[in-house]
């Protein structure tokens, strides 16, 4: 069964460093998402991506964040200068098409900023 994969499973970084979280969505899917979950809090929407551009982003997704689909298979989330409060579980999700509303989630990357 096709699934969304994410790497790494756990990333530890120093405050101020750049991190790139990687996702491989399901191959024929068209819509891509990043969510995050700070420990003990809700899963929060960060950004949606369709047709090679951001279609919606939340207030959390400020200038420090960017997304890219560099090669037609990977979907990356970059945080330019990490802060302590960026420590969270980051989930990637993908969805097949406009009338297919189920999102499939990856296992997540746990980001720890020291």
């Amino acid at each position: 069964e096709p699934e969304v994969t994410q790497t790494p499973s756990h990333q530890v970084t120093q405050m101020g460093q750049e991190v790139i979280l990687r996702c491989v969505p399901i191959s024929n899917h068209l819509y891509f998402y990043w969510y995050r979950q700070i420990l003990g809090q809700k899963v929060e929407f960060l950004v949606s991506f369709y047709n090679n551009e951001i279609s919606e982003k939340s207030e959390i997704f400020d200038d420090q964040f960017s997304v890219e689909r560099p090669d037609g298979s990977n979907f990356t989330l970059k945080i330019r200068s990490t802060k302590l409060e960026d420590s969270a579980m980051y989930f990637c999700a993908s969805r097949g098409g406009a009338h297919i509303n189920e999102q499939f989630f990856g296992p997540g990357t746990r980001l720890t900023v020291l």
Binding site: Y33, Y35, E44, S48, Y50, S58, E102, Q103, G108
Partner: protein, 114 residues
């Protein structure tokens, strides 16, 4: 503002007990509603979804949920839980008209005692 709330944060049941987890949403338009489950160490997985039609939807593993529009609710039920249902359960909603972003509830941790 769009929001989803789950009433129960931590539920402890014995095997064979019946389960009902509450979920309410606040949205102005036509909503799609979902319940996701996260077993320990695993991905978020879709349990069931409601888009339109019969307000009583059946999902995997014997779960069902009822959409009550007048109450803005989408409660999850299972007549008889098993130890293997121990997991975290998330209610989520998206507007039919938007990018498909999901707004999640806080999650409910279900612990089933054998």
């Amino acid at each position: 503002a769009q929001s989803v709330s789950q009433h129960n944060h931590h539920v402890i049941l014995s095997e064979a007990a019946s389960l009902e987890l509450g979920c309410n949403y606040s949205y102005g338009g036509t909503v799609n509603l979902f319940w996701y489950v996260q077993y320990p160490g695993q991905h978020l997985q879709l349990l069931l979804k409601y888009f339109s039609g019969d307000p009583l939807v059946k999902g995997i593993k014997g779960f069902e949920a009822e959409f009550i529009k007048s109450k803005f609710s989408f409660n999850l039920r299972k007549p008889s839980v098993q130890w293997s249902d121990t997991a975290e359960y998330f209610c989520a909603a998206s507007l039919s008209s938007n990018t498909g972003k999901l707004i999640f509830g806080q999650g409910t941790t279900l612990q089933v005692k054998p």
